[in-house]
Amino acid sequence: MGQNTAKLNAETSLDSVSLWGITRKRLLRRKSAVMGMIILGMLILVALTAHWLAPYDPTKSMLDVPDYPGKIEKRLPPCVHAFGCPESEPQHLMGLDGNIRDEFSRLLYGARISLVIGFATVSFSILIGTVLGALAGYFGGWVDNTIMRVMDVVLAFPSLLLAIAIVTVLGPGLINALLAIGIVSIPAYARVVRGSVLSVREMDYVSATRSLGGNTYEILFRRILPNALTPLIVQGTLGIASAILETAALSFLGLGAQHPTPEWGSMLGQERNQVFTAPHLVFYPGLAIMLTVLAFNLLGDGLRDALDPRLAHVS
């Protein structure tokens, strides 16, 4: 009897756990997702504390550092005291770049820029994509056809090429690169939201709200859209990864962040011709881009699996 009651209580308490509670549990059981969260956590920490951690101003040359004790020379290799670099030389963990700036400081500040790029781009695309997808799914007919055909045209271009074309129209710069990547990513979110809206548009609770006199705004944004939240979160997390990767590519080509912004893609692009003489200046920014993108991809994959009811038995 006692055992049955305990079992019943356990089941009842399980039922009362929210979707997010279950998701968190499932997410924490996935090693790759936990790895992604750890890398991401470290990146956020670095981004928040870059101004404390960075030994030098990321945009200033050593020429502008008063009483700089070392020799002023372009592209110095890393000097780490713990690894035998003489104490008389100033320490530069990742060396000096072509403009005699501390590479390590630039890399730390780059984390801040990359995270802002990822979140800003995806927020922009989600906002526009959600509105367009919701309108297309809810109203159907010519509204749906017009919006989705335009989305098809956008999807018909390889995303990086379209982003290059848009950024050329808008002019090179980080903000314009973000806008370009944001515009290119809109169709992915519009499709996700449209799909979710279509699947719940005819549900009983939506009809009930309609019969109770609920207006379009209330039905769409309070009843229907919350159902699209789950796929949007997954798409958004994976979208941050591709936004960071594509913005870095644009900056590498000289169309994104401009000198002296410490953005990883532009740091790499500026020093790419020095890969045979100063490989460390190419190696570290690229590694940083890869780790950041990897963290978001691992987390996105973990979230997708954790939120997928078909995979519930796995965890």
């Binding site: 790759s32 055909r149 335009v150 098809d152 045209v153 018909a156 271009f157 390889p158 995303s159 990086l160 090429l161 290059i164 074309a165 848009i166 050329t168 129209v169 002019g171 990864a241 990767l245 870095a248 590519a249 590498f252 080509l253 893609g265 790499l268 692009g269 790419r272 890969v275 045979f276 490989p279 190419v282 190696f283 920014p285 690229g286 590694l287 881009i289 890869m290 780790l291 993108v293 990897l294 991809n297 691992l298 994959d301």
Partner: protein
């Protein structure tokens, strides 16, 4: 099946018209005037007027669009401002390089990605599976331009003097000029004919041309130059294909008919290849199709890093130099190619799974 193909073809028409319009609008929206971008800031108004008139840019925008559409349907993409030659000619010179690079990259991704995905699924949760998936996750997160630079550094500098040394850029070593295969074969082709143009186009793919003409010195050199860019470009599609093959195979391997096949006493190899792989192919086909579009985007970066004069690099250069002719033509060709690819993917999907065409 015919009805399905026709319906899909009809649905592609508005998208293609949209692409033509978007490309035209994008090219016209690029700020600064093309005359001064081409002839320099010191070009006088008179010279610029003549320049605009010569290229039809003094006409109202709707007229320009109508002329542009008419010419495209005739297969004429106009002239490049920068190179003062027909865009189709530039396209025929540059496209073979990108096609060769993309095909090499796609072959690597398929030859490595699918077997890795299958092994990973068959040995689910083993160390092979964990390592493959770790590698696949790193692969999809890889900045292609960085990997390209690092490969060039490692294979041309670190391995210098070893048999594994590879050239860091270019298509062929200096001084090596391949003979077109049709000249080696002593084919008498009339210049300007369709057969001649096709043969010339094929002969610009160095690897294929050297195989056809039996020039193994050029073949070895061209292949060595192609390895690093192709490996760099193949990383992301390879990782995507490996991941998709694994998850698709896992799903299929759990089906009842696989258990039945095993219960019949069939060998593991037969069960996996004959029974499971065939049914797991559907999602893999989609990923392969979509990856090809990504390959074209990645080609811009790979061609820049490895100094290859392909479509991707010239398109990027044309956009920054405001060369309308090239931008329009190349974007249209790439986008239409992408639409055609999606169409082929959809049709092969319907062919592989009859339920799709019935819906």
């Amino acid at each position: 099946m015919t009805t399905y193909i026709l319906r899909r073809l009809l649905l592609s028409i508005p998208v293609i018209i949209g692409i033509l319009f978007a490309t035209f609008a994008l090219a016209r929206l690029i700020p600064s005037d093309p005359c001064r971008a081409m002839l320099g800031e010191k070009a006088t108004d008179e010279v610029c007027d003549q320049f605009l008139k010569r290229h039809g840019l003094d006409q109202p925008i709707p007229v320009q669009f109508a002329v542009y559409m008419g010419e495209i349907f005739k297969g004429d993409f106009g002239n490049s401002f920068r190179f003062s030659m027909p865009v189709t000619e530039i396209l025929s010179q540059r496209l073979p390089i990108t096609i060769e690079l993309s095909l090499a990259a796609l072959s690597i991704s398929l030859l490595v990605g699918i077997p890795l995905g299958i092994i990973s699924a068959v040995r689910h949760n083993s160390w092979v599976d964990v390592l493959t998936m770790l590698w696949a996750n790193i692969g999809v997160s890889m900045p292609v331009f960085w990997l390209g630079l690092m490969l060039a550094y490692f294979f041309s500098l670190t391995l210098k003097g070893t048999p594994f040394q590879l050239p860091p850029s270019g298509r062929l070593s200096p001084g090596l000029i391949p003979d077109p295969f049709f000249e080696v074969w002593n084919m008498s082709l009339t210049e300007g004919t369709a057969i001649y143009l096709t043969a010339e186009f094929i002969s610009r793919m160095n690897i294929l041309n050297s195989i056809l003409s039996g020039d193994w010195k050029v073949f070895k050199d061209a292949a060595q130059h192609m390895i690093l860019p192709a490996v760099a470009l193949s990383t992301i599609p390879m990782a995507l294909i490996a991941r998709m093959s694994r998850s698709s195979m896992l799903e299929v391997l759990g089906q009842d008919y696989i258990r039945t096949a095993r219960a019949k006493g069939l060998k593991q190899r037969t069960v996996v290849i004959r029974h499971a792989l065939r049914n797991a192919l559907l999602p893999i086909v989609t990923v392969v199709g979509l990856s090809l579009g990504g390959l074209l985007g990645g080609a811009v970066l790979t061609e820049t890093v490895f100094n290859l004069a392909g479509v991707g690099r010239i398109l990027y250069e044309a956009i920054t130099a405001r060369d309308y002719g090239i931008v329009q033509a190349f974007t249209v060709v790439i986008a239409v190619f992408f639409v055609a690819l999606n169409l082929i993917v959809d049709i092969s999907y319907a062919y592989l799974d009859p339920r799709i065409r019935l819906n």
